[in-house]
């Protein structure tokens, strides 16, 4: 094992970023990662008034010229909706805002005022129009995009690929627990702790696995929770109701050929509930699913070994 653990953590897209390089150049790698994440945040943040995404949401019903990065991010979000038949849908923006998550999460944790809400299906991704040639995005009037489900994974992949290309070595980027690797993996692969909360530390309860390529992503209803009045809320929205998912699983981790695909799959499985394991199995996506009572189900070749507690 020759992993040079030069962990650098910073804030980006409302979460923590970590970079690991299998070789020299951690300072240069960190600079590149931070710059890449800043580009994505400037385009895709829902909480920056001057971001391209905010301009699209503020001008719903109109075609808005944006940074090509946002077009790419929306394209990825629309693909997520398409391949999951709407289980992972970027048009949850208004729903999650009405639930009280309307500013950076660090300002939400203390709770938001009670609000009477009714279950309502979200508008749906089919009304979103992008034009990659003209770099424009248009959402139907009243529709708001939230790219939180896929933008972190997209950003992690971009950063990892860029750093690997610059340094010519293996790189791991973790953005809020969405992990992308690029370049040659170290001997034995990249050792990764899979757990409920990415911020709980590398020795948190969970399992240690190694991956060679692609990415790992975890979706969990145990984090990013807040109170709206006396109602507990979390950030994973069921498109069928516009309310937080109320399913049997607390955490789903997925390994895929890319961090984005892992993220899409883990989110979809949480929304699907009991049908999630079969859905993941059908797609050959190795997955680790934890029920609320702590029981774990392993799917499609996820290993049983490794420190597992």
């Amino acid at each position: 094992m020759s992993v040079t653990v030069e962990a650098v953590e910073t804030r980006a897209l409302g979460t923590t970023a970590r970079i690991v390089v299998d070789g020299p150049g951690i300072d240069e790698a960190t600079e590149t990662m931070v710059a890449e994440l800043e580009v994505v945040e400037q385009a895709c943040s829902r909480f920056r008034a001057d971001s391209d995404l905010s301009r699209v949401n503020d001008n719903s019903g109109q075609t808005v010229r944006v940074d090509p990065i946002l077009v790419e991010a929306v394209e990825i979000a629309l693909r997520a909706a398409r391949v999951t038949h709407g289980l992972v849908d970027p048009t949850v923006g208004a729903a999650i805002r009405l639930l009280g998550y309307d500013r950076d999460f660090s300002a939400v944790v203390d709770g938001t005022p009670a609000r009477k809400l009714q279950a309502q299906r979200i508008p749906g991704w089919r009304g979103v129009v992008i034009d990659p040639v003209r770099a424009t995005v248009r959402v139907p009037a009243g529709v708001e995009l939230d790219l939180g489900a896929t933008a972190k994974a997209f950003a992690a992949e971009r950063a990892a690929s860029r750093v690997a290309a610059d340094l010519g070595c293996g790189v791991l980027v973790s953005l809020g627990g969405d992990i992308a690797v690029a370049g040659a993996a170290p001997a034995g692969g990249w050792p990764i702790r899979v757990t409920d909360d990415h911020a709980a530390g590398l020795d948190a309860p969970g399992q240690t696995i190694a991956i060679q390529s692609g990415g790992v992503a975890t979706s969990s209803v145990t984090v990013r929770r807040w109170l709206q009045g006396d109602q507990a809320r979390h950030h994973l929205i069921d498109p069928a109701t516009g309310f937080p998912v109320d399913g049997p699983f607390r955490t789903v981790s997925v390994a895929a050929a890319s961090c984005v695909d892992a993220n899409i799959a883990s989110t979809a499985a949480i929304v699907l509930g009991e049908e999630g394991p079969g859905w993941l199995r059908a797609r050959h996506l190795p997955s680790r699913i934890t029920r609320h009572d702590g029981r774990v189900v392993l799917v499609a070749g996820w290993p049983t070994g490794g420190p597992n507690r």
């Binding site: 979460t15 973790s174 627990g177 590398l202 240690t208 390994a255 050959h284 774990v296 290993p303 049983t304």
Partner: protein, 107 residues
Amino acid sequence: MPRKSRTTRDTGLRQVKTTTKWLAGGAAVLTGFFAVWEGRSVHSASASTPTPPVAQSQSPSASSGTDNSGVSQDPGYDPSYSNGNLQAPDYAPAPSYQPPVASSGGS
């Protein structure tokens, strides 16, 4: 050469020619038969051992059921499901006993 000897020679040559023709024809038929038989055997072997979606060398266990840690292994691939567009990894994750360098969890 006497007439009788010539007749005998011609008769022998005809028999040789006929025998050669049958042998050549039989060889061709047998060649075709074995080619078809071999092709079917190879096809059957391929069909009964589909390429796994992820490298099995990285998967430590293919067993089903629940181990003594309370972790259950979902049964394997069901070909009746459709495949979708999400891409499985080239290699399944492997168990690791190295100190982790990153954590994947909710955020």
